[in-house]
Symmetry: C2
Subunit: 203 residues, 2 copies
């Protein structure tokens, strides 16, 4: 059985849960109080991930793989969620690195500050900058999705899964998603997939 070292609030961990569900693979999860330091214990750092983060996917033989996009890359090999065409593979990588560098640090962090930290946290001063940069990333997605049904090729891939995770909860970080109708249609397209698994219901 696969074990996912997990946290329900993490969009990065959700990427893995979603792909495993789509692939109909059984897995168990171990939940960590990330804010409370549960992924920084000596045991976690030595046995699970030296970088002290979730998600980590652990295989039955004990091997561990960290970095959400590396995990979904690996688990998607030889499935329909990873393209066979070399140029599509390159563009998939472009979107996945875009996600970790130009999207997640703004879209995810706004959600974190506004939903996980106390209302009087001084980190609220970061919100205008996070919104500026997060909106720029979302606009790049919107422009692409206005002309394409998926980020790469003509069907769902791990590039979509990587970007969907935090984008579909961006409203929790007070992004006004009504600006992005093409992203909304893409959300619905993903959510209609067989075996789709929701992150959680925050309505």
């Amino acid at each position: 059985m696969l074990t996912l070292h997990d946290n329900t609030e993490s969009g990065n961990a959700y990427k893995v849960r979603l792909l495993l569900a789509l692939l109909k693979l059984d897995f168990e999860t171990i939940q960590y109080d990330v804010v409370g330091g549960a992924t920084r214990t000596k045991k976690y750092l030595s046995e699970i991930n030296k970088n002290g983060r979730i998600p980590v996917l652990q295989f039955e033989d004990g091997r561990c793989l960290a970095e959400s996009n590396a995990i979904i890359y690996y688990m998607a090999q030889n499935t329909k969620y990873f393209p066979t065409d070399a140029w599509q593979q390159a563009k998939l990588m472009e979107w996945m690195f875009f996600e970790q560098y130009s999207h997640e640090p703004f879209v995810a962090v706004a959600k974190y500050i506004l939903t996980m930290l106390p209302a009087d946290t001084p980190r609220r001063t970061e919100i205008p900058t996070l919104h500026e940069k997060g909106y720029a990333a979302l606009q790049i997605m919107e422009d692409h999705l206005a002309e394409n049904s998926y980020l790469v090729g003509d069907h769902l891939s791990v590039a979509d899964i990587a970007l969907y995770a935090y984008s579909h909860k961006a409203h929790m970080g007070e992004f006004d998603m009504s600006r992005f109708p093409a992203i909304d249609r893409w959300f619905k397209r993903i959510e209609s997939e067989d075996n789709y698994l929701e992150m959680y219901n925050d309505n």
Copy 2:
């Protein structure tokens, strides 16, 4: 001929120059004044990269690929710099996403603030945090390289190229690299490769 949309100070762009040199592929470069906004012009955003960044590798037919690690992933396919073993491919991805999320935002930004901005920039207040997080990333590399000659498998791959780029200029961001003897030996191993291309000489 390949065209690299480039900036000599960018370790991200250097990853591409280094791999293309190792592969003995000819390329021309177009230099951009990134700090001055040359990658944010309407023309650049519409024709080269909507995300307004270098590096971008442009192919003879006009296709453009952004994101340094996506570029070197693509160009390394079917060469000795990308492993054939699926698990090694997964670990390579883990290192490349680690680089963009846990290493570059600290190691590269410290260099940028200390070498590219005026000496009285208020951004110098970021340096202690950048050093704390950058040292943590470098220590993870050091621990791995104390027991392994390369980041993945037993020879040079694009994982090494991705991490080498900013690590070997970390001293310019005032990281004390004498703490990391295994990283130093790994630098020398990479620098002894046939067709190695230096970023520039800052001594």
